[in-house]
């Protein structure tokens, strides 16, 4: 973790070097055209900033030179001096001196002495002729260096390519590490361990290079909110927070439309009109908050409004009408589970729901975007008080934490993002309710199904469960998707591991139950389960 001082210093250096480049450019422009007022204004501004920043950092000698230079440029601007002759020569020397001083600070070297220059600048301010030494100019030329900026711009597809290569490398690395242990050659093992560390660092460096501030997206929203609010005749106060949280650039790109959709929805449907709000005893101006924060390895982005909230009962009715759930089952679902129906494909098209609850237009599309990243979308709402949508996103797309387990002597992986907990239960802990096995996990009743049975027999209805099918201790992974929990019985838990997920190749890419494959160190191919698809399959096949 960098200290704040270190960060300030890096920022200062980057900005100072950039300013020096710009000063060199503008002073040459001024030489060509002494009346170029734009170049003059820029020089004045750059000197001003360099002065302020240098003084704040405690680099007083740079601040002093910049201050004197600023004064002269100010005099040229007010037409009290002319950019020509000895004055121009001194200013050129001044810009060179500034470059040398900044470099010295960057290299932790002694900052060159600037007394002669300062004396000349003072003379110019007083309207006297500067003392120019011929050798001085020659000496300066000999030590002149060309400085390039410390920042580069890079196309994102080049970073994508790097990341893919790192993914390949990591798979081979794991293979080599395993082989070295099998062969038992200690020199090979040492090299493999070293390779492991280096590739790990490489992976994190490439991931780090792709991070951008969430603010680069959030800061676009004040404008959006203002426009939607004025079109909808709403009064909205937008608050942003967590703009400096960092996230992979492509993840931010993928959620852009989803976030835009949620924000527009919140203003257009979530928040009431000023008249409605006053009637409900609320301030006429609605509050909308867009915030980002980190939670463990994930980034949470929340869209919160203090509008009318979601009417759970009308969603429940609609879900029954559309046949998504039986009337009896619907009555037993808690509010959270009912709100999850809003993300069902097509559900949202229901006009009545849109009007009554003010929600639901195209939320399934938002959900799909988040799913494609292996993220989660949650909604919380209190009727009459407001709604919060939470996007849980991975920081990086390259590597995912996964839980490895065994089923029928094969290894499978399940992303941690969708894993709630792992439990080992005895048959006494499981109950049969309506043909389904149920277990109480952390005070909640969770349906449990044998993963083996779920993966067999296509999409035929599942056979009613019986207690007889479970014998002895059961290893169960509790997965969570769209506010629905499901327990999957597996043969054996293996371990937790970071994996690089590779997309399935044709013709296997049509099997949607698997989100991809990964290669384990043993060379074994390991299928990665897609929890959203698995949950949908379970809901479709249960009785």
């Amino acid at each position: 973790m960098k200290s704040r001082e270190q960060e300030y210093r890096e920022m200062y250096m980057a900005e100072a070097l950039e300013a020096y480049d710009a000063m060199s450019r503008h002073i040459s422009e001024l030489e060509r055209n002494p009346h170029d007022s734009q170049a003059l204004n820029e020089l004045f501004r750059l000197m001003h900033n360099l002065k302020s920043n240098s003084r704040a950092m405690g680099y007083t000698s740079i601040g002093e030179v910049a201050h004197h230079m600023e004064t002269i440029f100010g005099l040229i601007r007010s037409k009290e001096r002319e950019f020509s002759g000895s004055l121009a020569a001194v200013l050129f020397t001044g810009v060179d001196m500034i470059g040398a001083m900044i470099r010295a600070v960057g290299d932790d070297e002694v900052v060159p002495d600037s007394n002669v220059l300062l004396d000349n600048l003072d003379r110019l301010v007083r309207g006297e002729e500067p003392v120019l030494e011929g050798e001085l100019a020659d000496e300066e030329d000999a030590t002149r260096k060309l400085e390039l900026s410390d920042l580069v711009y890079i196309q994102i597809k080049k970073l994508d390519h790097l990341l893919n290569l790192v993914g390949e490398l990591i798979i081979d690395r794991d293979r080599i590490l395993t082989l070295s242990q099998e062969i038992g050659n200690s020199a090979l093992q040492t090299s493999a361990a070293h390779l492991f560390r280096i590739t790990d660092e490489l992976q994190y460096s490439v991931m780090d290079a792709r991070l951008v501030n969430v603010g680069s997206l959030l800061n676009k929203f004040p404008r959006v909110v203002r426009d939607v609010a004025s079109a909808e005749q709403k009064q909205v106060e937008l608050t942003l927070s967590g703009q400096d949280i960092q996230i992979d650039r492509n993840i931010l790109q993928i959620i852009t439309d989803a976030l835009l959709h949620l924000v527009r929805n919140a203003v257009a449907h979530g928040l009431e009109t000023p008249a409605e709000r006053e009637k409900a005893g609320k301030p006429a101006q609605g509050q909308l908050t867009l915030s980002a924060q980190t939670e463990r390895d994930d980034v949470l982005i929340q869209v919160t409004d203090d509008g009318r909230g979601i009417d759970v009962e009308s969603v429940r009715r609609k879900a029954v009408e559309r046949g998504l759930v039986g009337k009896e089952a619907a009555r037993q679902l808690d509010d959270k589970a009912v709100r999850a129906f809003l993300f069902e494909p097509g559900f949202s098209m229901a006009k009545e729901v849109t009007e009554i609850s003010g929600r639901g237009v195209g939320l399934d599309v938002v959900k799909l975007a988040i799913d494609s990243l292996g993220g989660q979308l949650r909604v919380d709402s209190v009727l009459g008080q407001g709604t919060t949508f939470t996007l849980v996103l991975p920081t990086s797309i390259a590597v995912k934490g996964a839980l490895l387990f065994e089923l029928d002597e094969r290894s499978y992986a399940i992303p941690l993002m969708h894993t709630d907990s792992v439990v080992s239960l005895w048959p006494d802990d499981l109950h049969v309710v309506g043909g389904l096995l149920m277990a109480e996990v952390q005070g909640e009743n969770v349906p449990v199904v044998s993963l083996r049975r779920l993966l067999q027999n296509g999409d035929e209805p599942l056979q009613p469960a019986t207690r007889a099918e479970v014998q002895g201790r059961q290893d169960i992974i509790i997965v969570n998707y769209n506010n629905r929990k499901l327990g999957l019985i597996v043969d054996r838990f293996l371990r937790q591991q970071n994996i690089v997920i590779k997309p399935m190749t044709k013709p296997l890419d049509t099997i949607e139950l698997f989100g991809g494959v990964t290669l384990l160190g043993s060379g074994q191919v390991c299928l990665v389960l897609d929890v959203p698809a698995l949950t949908r399959l379970f809901l479709a096949r249960r009785l």
């Binding site: 900005e15 501004r45 900033n49």
Partner: protein, 123 residues
């Protein structure tokens, strides 16, 4: 409720330092603008309680921005940030409705003292 502040300065370094100082003191920094155009837009959309405004900005002088901001929202408090040497502009800014000014380089205590002072005149 937290007082909401907009920072206007063309230096990223300066903005970051101000933001850290203000955030640490419990203020909410609602935005950062790097030029006059951005400053006017963000002042209108984010509706801050107070704006710290650099006197020298790339596309516009700080004074023009000050006048624009005050025209749109006469209640917003504006604290000018300047380095020594701009006393003339600072005086004009105070006449044009700025609440106070901070001279760069500034200490954390000084910034917080001036900002809270300017906000109190709002009550």
């Amino acid at each position: 409720m937290k007082n909401r502040i907009l920072i206007v300065d063309d230096s990223f370094y300066m903005r970051t330092m101000l933001k850290n100082m203000l955030t640490d003191a419990g203020y909410e920094v609602v935005g950062e603008a790097a030029n006059g155009q951005q400053a006017l837009e963000m002042a209108a959309s984010a509706k801050p309680d107070l704006i710290t405004l650099d006197v020298i900005l790339p596309d516009n002088t700080g004074l023009d921005v000050l006048k624009g901001i005050r025209q749109n929202d006469p209640d917003v408090k504006v604290v000018m940030c300047s380095a020594v040497g701009q006393e003339v502009i600072v005086n004009e800014a105070l006449e044009s409705g700025a609440s106070a000014y901070i001279v760069k380089p500034f200490s954390e205590e000084k910034v917080l003292e001036i900002v809270s002072g300017a906000l109190q005149t709002a009550e």
